[in-house]
Symmetry: C2
Subunit: 422 residues, 2 copies
Amino acid sequence: MNKIKIGNFIIIEKNGIRWEGKIIQILNDLLILKLKSGYNIGIKIDKKTKIEILKEEKISKHKPVSFDIKFDKKKVPISILSAGGTISSSIDYSTGAISASYTASQLIASIPELVNFANIKSKKILEEMSENLTPKHWKKIGREVFEELKESEGIILTHGTDTLSYTSSMLSFMLRNLNKPVVLTFAQKSSDRGSSDASMNLICSTITATKNIAEVVVVGHGTISDDYCLINRGNKVRKMHSSQRNSFRPINCFPIGKVWPDGKVEFLDKYKKKEEVKEDCYLDDKIEEKVAIIKFYPGLDSEIVDFYVDKGYKGIVIEGTGLGHTSKALFPKIKRAIESGIIVVMTTQTIYGRVNPYVYSSAREISKLGVIYLEDLLTETAYTKLMWILGHTQNEKEVRELMLKNLAGEFNKRLQPSQFLY
Amino acid sequence: MNKIKIGNFIIIEKNGIRWEGKIIQILNDLLILKLKSGYNIGIKIDKKTKIEILKEEKISKHKPVSFDIKFDKKKVPISILSAGGTISSSIDYSTGAISASYTASQLIASIPELVNFANIKSKKILEEMSENLTPKHWKKIGREVFEELKESEGIILTHGTDTLSYTSSMLSFMLRNLNKPVVLTFAQKSSDRGSSDASMNLICSTITATKNIAEVVVVGHGTISDDYCLINRGNKVRKMHSSQRNSFRPINCFPIGKVWPDGKVEFLDKYKKKEEVKEDCYLDDKIEEKVAIIKFYPGLDSEIVDFYVDKGYKGIVIEGTGLGHTSKALFPKIKRAIESGIIVVMTTQTIYGRVNPYVYSSAREISKLGVIYLEDLLTETAYTKLMWILGHTQNEKEVRELMLKNLAGEFNKRLQPSQFLY
């Protein structure tokens, strides 16, 4: 341990397993190694660990080294847009905190493998952890992605995990006639730390961005190991775990596919291909921001509905229980909201499954009041879609028709039992 | 098809599989058969289906026949309390609606197998679909369960699925020194319909209620087949699918065990046993009802916090994003709430995983404001526990200490990756 230092290229052998890579950090008896594949791993050193130094090279701590990228005519142009989040953040050693800091070009510099798959451009468009993003940020992101689509064959948007699926869902509605892949990706561990998931997510996103896909998708770890990433539809995906790297899961569908960091892709379900899009892509970012989500629970103060009615809200998403229920106590409040011209829609807090107003009397009554039951839509998707639809029309009949129309693959007509907890 | 009628006992053979049972309904080419095991199945009849009538018996439509239950000294006394829900509901053929109607004794009559495992008593305590239950109903249920515990070795509470886990969580706090099993069970399809899950859930609940368990648990289908049920801890379980029979899943833990309808039980994790409880069981149903849940989302109107502060609420559960975050816009509102003496706690809308105030600056700031980060607690459990704790003390220091103390197995110190999406 005394001889090795940061920057050394080493071969390390422990318990019969052998790794080759560059030391990027030493924490007591823990070596953080950047493997050739681009992933970082942490290896605990003990008496049995064999280390062979291959070649010495000084690197400035573990800040990524920038390097020239040569244009390769055989590869397609892909743009990486950075909207902040953990994937572009580093530890501030003075405070121990994490904040959004790396630029997209630094990310590329730290993962040289990316250039094996595409000609990479990069741009920082936001520097925010995603819990601070608002509908106004979605508009900015939409504009930036749309502009970049004119020059690239595919877009990668790096984004914080917390509200990523709200953004991906909104983009799926804003980018009309989308004819290229728009890939959102992320990290659950920051890019400069041992065992970050950033490298593999970015490599797999780059591969996905070169494919014949005409949808907004989310690409990230499929398992807790560094084996493959899932490609999920942007409006049918959700962060289901606060910290595991495989936290983004398909909801009420299968993933579109799996992608391995060596370039292999396996498609598992239908998706839109470029040739299916006949008309020009355009950005339609008209949204109505006065939309609220009300999660129902036993004991919910029914006056919460009045709160939004009285503040001039135009739409309410009720996240009901089971097949789309609330207690009877809410019925008069919902009635008043609808009579005030507010569009009220229903999703379920079970996350998985479909709402259905025909099975139980509660839902039949709620449905009679005029609440729109949104089939198998996620609450996140119902919210962003309602904002977007209300940006175009507030006519109840038109809103109902559009809310129930499949605009961007958001509905799945046939749920399968094995899609539950995929 | 012309010869057979409702009430016939038949042997039916299709695609090499053979069933024996009683016809309880005929819907065009679909036969609904009650098997000897007590389960109902639906079999589509085609030209290749062979049917043999064993014996004719007229039954009054498919209303369960009541019968005498004999006391068996070798078996323990178990009480089934009915709180309503689909498990005790039947289809009203005039309107097509489902409403809570069967009594617990009728349930027993329709599932004679129950008496193989215990001496069964029954009582109807409520007749409500669970979306209409309120904290006041939880108190009534708590009292009824506690009274019945004096006479029985175990309690089964049949309950609607929609808010079942709120009730089971609250009961886990109200029943102090619980020294017997209290088993909540349910059905996703009503008891008198083909392929109802009610029979197996009730049989498995009865078996569970005879075991050496001193906890509130939820028992229901583990898979979509009629193979086994899961035994889940009442405050670490959630309805995760709006309609599938295997919708109740353990969150941030493994199930306590599996139970098969033939009587076999396999325990998978630690649970409290009767002999571990040294003091007398008592009911403590003091709760503070002025507690609210706020689900955070991008664009949330931060004045919603003021709404609850101004209405004199005593506690707020914030269902944050990721590791327990909200946007900066909420910070001044949270500060005001806490300065007004309101206890604010944090859970995560990812459902799975733990909140952590130490990783990101947002959570560090929220934590500094005085928000209590509730580790791996479900929002449902945080809500019921906060109500219960605030019913006893409103002293911030005491509330914090009690909220973070493991009172009924609600915390899991070591989350395992394989517990995700179990």
